[in-house]
Symmetry: C2
Subunit: 381 residues, 2 copies
DNA sequence: CTGAAAGCGCTTACAG
DNA sequence: CTGAAAGCGCTTACAG
């Protein structure tokens, strides 16, 4: 590997001259000829700066850490790309750390980030596992933390999608289309009270329901005991959140798929099912295809995230799309501000998502009778 | 940030003592008490080594670069996780670089890797874009390159799945089940002759067909002109590779989906369609759902990769699964050997994939008449 | 068993 | 306009 010293020796210049010219700091007055020679020779010799040496000497790495969870969810993947681009646009480099690649150990990841001397950390789309204590480990050594689409943590800024309003809008839309018995599948997680993105989904759904009817929640077992006869009587809208115990499901046992296998064997079906995201909604649709339950003819479905697979007309998934570019721009702006001013307090910001109405919600229902029996044959996806 | 010097001052020891104890090199004889004090104080003060300083002083980064393309394909994602784990198991750290995150610029990625002074580079699941010249840029500065599931490049080792045998086996299986007119959808890429993973798919399919019948290839336009009447006459097996011009399709215009929209409007349908991978096969199935073409009742389908979505009984995708753990272990072993011995020549190695037979290939057909008309009603997915 | 010293590749304030 | 020198945080051969 070529060093600045080697360039200096070759050109019989001092190391400082080479270093100054290569670093292109403004305000330096070197002879144009000297500049040319140095730049030309550096390129010829294939000089590449040694990042580690720069970091040691400058006492800053110019690195922003991006902690993410791989690309299981398309929207998260897109967001990560946008974050990386925005970080670079501001003159930083990034160190991307995939939690999966580290066996999911947060402590391990934090040590990596500190050892790399990152100047700030963006926590992208990570829920429970990233706790306040982890934020503290970073802030204690002067590394500010911004969470994007994750959980509120004291000491960390949070920038996120307004998932409450999105689920409220999805709920309202289903009601408006004439659906009356609406299920909401909800993945239970440990500390429910502090879980923003999952909690807000529930609150948004519930608020839409309670504008027009009654809302209850059940565990999976309770639900199958109560459904459909033991439900509280209501002439109008009835919303049921079914809390799925995620401890029961490994990732291989697709929880929504498993639930639907059981639900689709029972009768009657609910009018509509609100899923946590598009991946879950596709699980439901796959279960429906298998068991002859048609979406939306037999049951309407909504997702969240606007995954590509939902675009196929065969699925036609009604969903909502985050404003990824604004969210990511705000996130990177925030981490830069907090790097620049270590005493700047963390802030919160959220951005509305955009509804994407396709056929899975049973769009055509609106114009028709609200009685399921009479619409089944005419509504098609 | 805490430095070794600060620990030394706090304990009134020399910097060398602290450094030696923290580095835990074998063969050093320090008083147990001194060791304890140093370790305890380091932990208390929250000492974390400065990686950059270590890299500068040791003149090696202990880093292996992993260049990948995000996680669009599940199998590639799994492989990347396995690579990372294997790299760590051998005492290296890794620097993961997602080509997407760098806007797809190979040169930019290579500069990053060199500036980080990685000791070796693994190119994971990247096809055309990574060329011989890129391998040369790395080897010229002493960084060995191992390609995993990508293309053969002079100067780079290659470890890959035996995709030839897999497609041969898929083809044979379809023939054995009684399918006679078999389509193979093939994404055309620039330098066909040097593209291993796509080229071997074609060769494997073709060899299976030619064992029992006749093989031809068409562009998409030629195909729709010729299908079905202009095909060469053959009493038995007829294999057609349809070369899709990928320049025509952005990622948004799903190429297999678009092709199927057109194909499913024509008639008759082929007996079976061999897709490049599971993602393509799902595109086909989605088009089928939309246009009332049933898999496998109306047309059989195979994929490749064993994506999770193919597991749903509604899709029941027949596919093949790479031996990811062996491939990745061999890849990491190879890069370590080449780092240890810079003169070691690059080598090639491939591992067989495992067929996964589900329903989409029309399994039940084998026991029945080979006439499509009579089997349609009894075969179900 | 412990410490003084050199040096990795770079940056930067300062002298000439 | 150019160069000599100090020093970032660490490692390591060597002296005591």
């Amino acid at each position: 590997m070529i060093t600045q010293r080697q360039i200096a020796e070759r050109l019989e210049l001092s190391l400082a001259t080479v270093a100054n010219i290569l670093s292109e700091r403004p305000g330096l007055r070197y002879a144009a000829a000297t500049r040319e020679r140095v730049l030309k020779t550096a390129a010829e010799m294939g000089y590449q700066p040694n990042r580690a040496a720069q970091t040691v000497r400058r006492r800053r790495s110019n690195l922003i850490g991006i902690v993410h969870f791989g690309a299981g969810i398309e929207a998260a993947h897109k967001a990560n790309l946008a974050l990386a681009a925005d970080v670079c646009a501001r003159g930083y480099d990034y160190l991307a750390v995939d939690m999966n690649w580290h066996g999911g150990s947060v402590e391990r990841v934090i040590d990596e980030l500190i050892q790399a001397r990152v100047e700030g950390v963006i926590i992208s789309h990570i829920q429970e596992v990233f706790q306040k204590e982890h934020v503290d480990m970073l802030t204690r050594v002067g590394i500010p933390v911004v969470v994007v689409n994750g959980e509120r943590r004291s000491g960390a800024s949070i920038i996120c999608d307004d998932v409450y309003s999105a689920f409220q809008a999805l709920g309202r839309h289903l009601i408006q289309l004439g659906h009356r018995r609406i299920l909401h599948l909800w993945p239970a997680v440990d500390r429910l009270e502090e879980n923003r993105s999952i909690g807000e989904r529930l609150k948004g759904f519930r608020s839409a329901i309670e504008e027009r009817g009654k809302w209850v929640s059940f565990s999976e077992e309770e639900f199958f005991t109560a459904w459909p006869d033991q439900l509280p009587a209501t002439g109008g809208v009835m919303g049921v959140t079914v809390i799925q115990d995620m401890e029961k499901y490994s990732t291989l046992n697709k929880p929504v798929y498993s639930f639907c296998e059981r639900l689709f064997a029972a009768s009657p079906l609910p009018d509509a099912i609100v899923c946590t995201n598009d991946v879950s909604a596709i699980e439901l649709i796959a279960a429906g295809l298998e068991h002859g339950v048609r979406v939306p003819a037999d049951v309407a479905v909504t997702g969240y995230d606007n995954d590509r697979i939902g675009e196929y007309p065969a699925f036609g998934l009604t969903t909502a799309e985050q404003d990824i570019s604004r969210i990511c721009a705000a996130t990177v702006a925030e981490i830069c501000l907090r790097i620049a001013d270590p005493h700047r307090p963390p802030r919160q910001q959220s951005f509305p998502s955009r509804l994407i109405l396709r056929t899975s919600c049973g769009m055509a229902l609106a114009a028709q009778s609200r009685s399921k029996a009479t619409t089944t044959d005419t509504v098609r996806s």
